[in-house]
């Protein structure tokens, strides 16, 4: 008699815990017409819970040394590498890739954490500087995290695309509420299991699954979210979301015209800096 496998209930990831949607709703994830799983369909209240968790976690994450954040993010790569085969199988299934392409996709996803781990203690050295003001003042500018960021992950690239959006946000000490690809959310939920067993503090990364059109406006209009990444709406009109974002002057990273191919390394720290403030400090010099 063949053994029956034990299937997993895919849930949300909020404040380091794995709750179902408070609404009790799920939606079907199917591939080629075959049922794969029920994903949790997050609600407006789940967004609010996630934002609260993100807000709570953010100050101490930002206060950690850059070296410490770098090691924690590198630890995610270590944990992900250990579960490489599981992710290759999920990415292949979700994205219809053959094993080779899925492998290079997952390898790039692992390496992407390594790339961003290295930025934690370098971004200020690349994006900060001493300003030679015309007077007896010490004048220094450097990047600081903006706070809580809402992120709409790409719809096609279920793992690498998700990481490409989430990792740069947390490098400098932001926390994030990320909405996974609507039809391919399972890799993101599996990634939550990786994050939960690495040293990322609870609440720094929160992951929601559900209908993007339902969740995005809630995030865009939330008064305690500082910035929003619209990448998940590649090629679509996001005017309404941008209008909603203006309610508390959110920093907006616009959606690209088309979803990028993600395997190559990013061309720079653009995504990190999209969610940074620049702080300039003046101090007099004199006896």
């Amino acid at each position: 008699m063949t053994r029956l496998d034990v299937r997993k209930t895919y849930k949300l990831f909020i404040g380091g815990a794995f709750p179902r949607s408070e609404s009790g709703r799920t939606y079907v994830i199917a591939r080629n017409g075959t049922f794969v799983a029920n994903a949790a369909r997050a609600s407006r209240k789940d967004v609010r819970d996630a934002v609260r968790a993100a807000r709570t976690a953010q100050p101490s994450w930002a206060a950690a040394t850059a070296y410490n954040r770098g090691q924690v993010i590198y630890r995610v790569a270590e944990m992900l590498e250990a579960r490489r085969d599981q992710f290759i199988s999920e990415v292949a299934g979700a994205e219809g890739l053959d094993h080779r392409d899925a492998s290079s996709n997952v390898d790039a996803a692992i390496d992407r954490w390594v790339w961003y781990a290295g930025w934690t203690d370098k971004i200020a050295q690349v994006a900060g500087n001493l300003n030679p003001v015309a007077g007896p003042y010490f004048n220094l500018s450097g990047p600081e995290p903006t706070g809580v960021v809402g992120a709409l992950a790409p719809q096609q690239s279920s793992l690498l695309g998700f990481i490409d959006v989430v990792a740069p946000i947390i490098v400098t000490g932001n926390s994030v509420v990320a909405v996974a690809s609507q039809d391919r959310p399972l890799a993101a939920v599996m990634l939550a299991e990786v994050l939960a067993t690495s040293d990322i503090p609870p609440g720094v990364v929160n992951i929601l699954t559900g209908h993007i059109d339902e969740l995005a406006p809630v995030i865009a209009s939330h008064q305690d979210v500082n910035a929003i990444d619209l990448t998940g709406y590649a090629g679509q009109d996001t005017t309404e979301l941008e209008v909603a974002a203006a309610g508390n002057l959110k920093r907006v990273l616009p959606a690209p015209a088309t979803e990028a191919s993600h395997v190559a390394l990013p061309d720079g720290p653009r995504r990190i800096l999209a969610f940074c403030e620049t702080k300039t400090v003046w101090h007099p010099k004199g006896w």
């Binding site: 390594v114 790339w115 690349v126």
Partner: protein, 520 residues
């Protein structure tokens, strides 16, 4: 040796707060708290690391490495001659094309592995470093080894971000780096040298100091465990002649040296005309300036950190204490009171503050220089403490009433010896601080922020610490002005020591062929 009792410096300025006699709280002495040394197998076969193999010197000679706290011979290591250096340079040269062609993010992952391995084996390295160097276990455990790992971690992240190093797009490595490091922070100096070199795509031939070769050889094992490609890191052991062989080798493209100013000058002379690139991190005679508005108790801690950390074997040590005249007596009084609590002795004891002087040669140098302190008229104070019978030891020593032209005010002693002078105005403090051929570091103690920045601007020193001293971080460039050398280590600025622009109309180095070249 110096048999005189500890004497307080003369002068009776403002008295510190009267101490309330405490009849209730008894005072306890520290019980011994020795760190176990069995984490390290000293009986192993210590060999050099060339081309990925552990090898003997071609001539078969060996020399001993001694525990300076006991004079026990810890191990014997190969004595590399020109033949061995040549072999190491050949290995580094043949490893270079593949290593520099390895994508940055893959090179970076090797460095991350090394960082993690150093963290995992930290205790082993800490104990070995303490045995070989004589510095307290508390220091190797809390400073040397964690910082060495941090250095690899930081530079690992640069390997795939060199486009942002400030050298323009796609900068190139320089080639084979010859690196010679001192005995005061053996593994830490190794990491300062190797991590940036490898991150930038260079290969290296490194020589640890002759009195502290062991952690470097243990590091070779880490390279192996990280599967670092053969020849990327080559470690040769020996003394000055071995170092000269590296400096003079025509196959070496860059020399990085940390050590004395005299040897540094010799290196700059030796490579003149060869086109070799050079960075030098040399001696220092740092001024630690205490203004009268400083938080005196904190300043006293900083003074102690500044000169007695690592037995004063620190090139950037705050060896000249400049105190504003009106608080001189107060500071000196508090300082000697604080120093009386220092524990000198067994470096493996976790309560030890000061360990052994690294070698008999260094001890002799410290003795002869401090002898001139008294003959030139300064007042000597030293800690009244028992010293172990065997090994190389020197009591923490403070000279007051030091003339600015005294040898102990001008020459680097490289030991636990502080020379105290005074000043009246900030301008005088700056003039005295800068009155040295050195320019590695300086310290400023004042509660007034604007004064910190104004004084810092005028100090001719590569690192200025304000209300702290002897702080090191991989992200923070370190290096000197004037005869303390040139080039920086650490931070974004440190990368330029191991990079050259991608497309140069006048390449600083001819393109290298893939074949090993320059057999001597």
């Amino acid at each position: 040796m110096d048999s005189e009792k500890a004497t307080r410096p003369s002068g009776h300025g403002p008295q510190p707060e009267a101490t309330v006699p405490d009849m209730i709280t008894p005072t306890w002495d520290y019980a011994p708290a020795p760190e176990a040394r069995d984490v390290i197998d000293l009986g192993r076969d210590w060999r050099m690391f060339i081309g990925g193999d552990f090898v003997e010197a071609a001539a078969g000679d060996r020399f001993p490495s001694v525990n300076p706290a006991t004079e026990e011979v810890l191990a014997e290591v190969p004595l590399a001659t020109e033949v061995d250096v040549d072999r190491a340079v050949a290995a580094a040269t043949s490893a270079l094309p593949t290593w520099q062609a390895t994508p940055g993010h893959e090179r970076g992952k090797y460095l991350y592995r090394i960082a993690r391995l150093l963290q995992e084996r930290a205790r082993e390295f800490a104990v070995l470093e303490t045995l070989d160097n004589g510095k307290p276990i508390r220091e190797t455990r809390d400073v040397d080894i964690p910082l060495a790992a941090a250095h690899f971690f930081y530079h690992a992240g640069w390997a795939d971000k060199l486009d942002w190093a400030g050298m323009g797009p796609s900068p190139r490595p320089i080639g084979v780096a010859g690196q010679i490091i001192p005995w005061n922070f053996p593994l830490l100096m190794l990491s300062w040298k190797i991590a940036p070199a490898l991150a930038c795509g260079n290969t290296v031939v490194i020589k640890p100091a002759e009195t502290t070769p062991l952690t470097a050889l243990l590091f070779a094992e880490v390279c192996q465990q990280a599967d670092l490609p053969a020849g990327v890191v080559n470690i040769v052991t020996g003394a000055g002649q071995t170092g000269s062989a590296i400096v003079d080798h025509p196959g070496v493209d860059k020399i990085a040296f940390t050590g004395s100013t005299a040897v540094g000058k010799g290196i700059q002379r030796a490579v003149a005309g060869s086109g070799k690139r050079v960075t030098l991190e040399l001696g220092g005679k740092a001024a630690n300036i205490i203004f009268d508005d400083a938080a005196i108790d904190q300043a006293v801690e900083g003074i102690v950190d500044g000169i007695f950390f690592n037995q004063g074997h620190v090139c950037c040590a705050g060896s000249r204490l400049l105190i504003q005249e009106n608080v001189h007596d107060l500071v000196v009084d508090k300082l000697t009171t604080r120093l009386a609590t220092l524990k000198v002795g067994d470096p493996l004891d976790k309560n030890t503050d000061l360990g052994a002087i690294n070698s008999a040669v260094q001890l002799e140098r410290i003795r002869s220089l401090t002898d001139t302190g008294e003959t030139e008229g300064a007042d000597r104070w030293e800690l009244d403490c028992e010293l172990p019978e065997r090994g190389f030891w020197f009591r923490p020593t403070v000279f007051t009433n030091v003339a600015v032209n005294a040898r102990i005010a001008r020459e680097e002693i490289f030991g636990p010896v502080l020379s105290v002078m005074t000043f009246r105005t900030p301008q005088e403090a700056i003039a005295k601080a800068n009155n040295t051929p050195y320019g590695l570091s300086a310290g400023i103690w004042t509660e007034k922020g604007s004064r910190i920045l104004k004084v810092a601007d005028q100090l001719r020193a590569g690192v200025v610490w304000a209300n702290t001293f002897n702080r090191f971080d991989p992200t923070s460039p370190f290096g000197g002005y004037k005869e303390s050398g040139f080039g920086r280590e650490g931070g974004r600025h440190g990368l330029s020591a191991y990079l050259q622009p991608s497309q140069s109309a006048h390449p600083e180095q001819p393109e290298r062929s893939a074949a090993p070249e320059a057999q001597a």
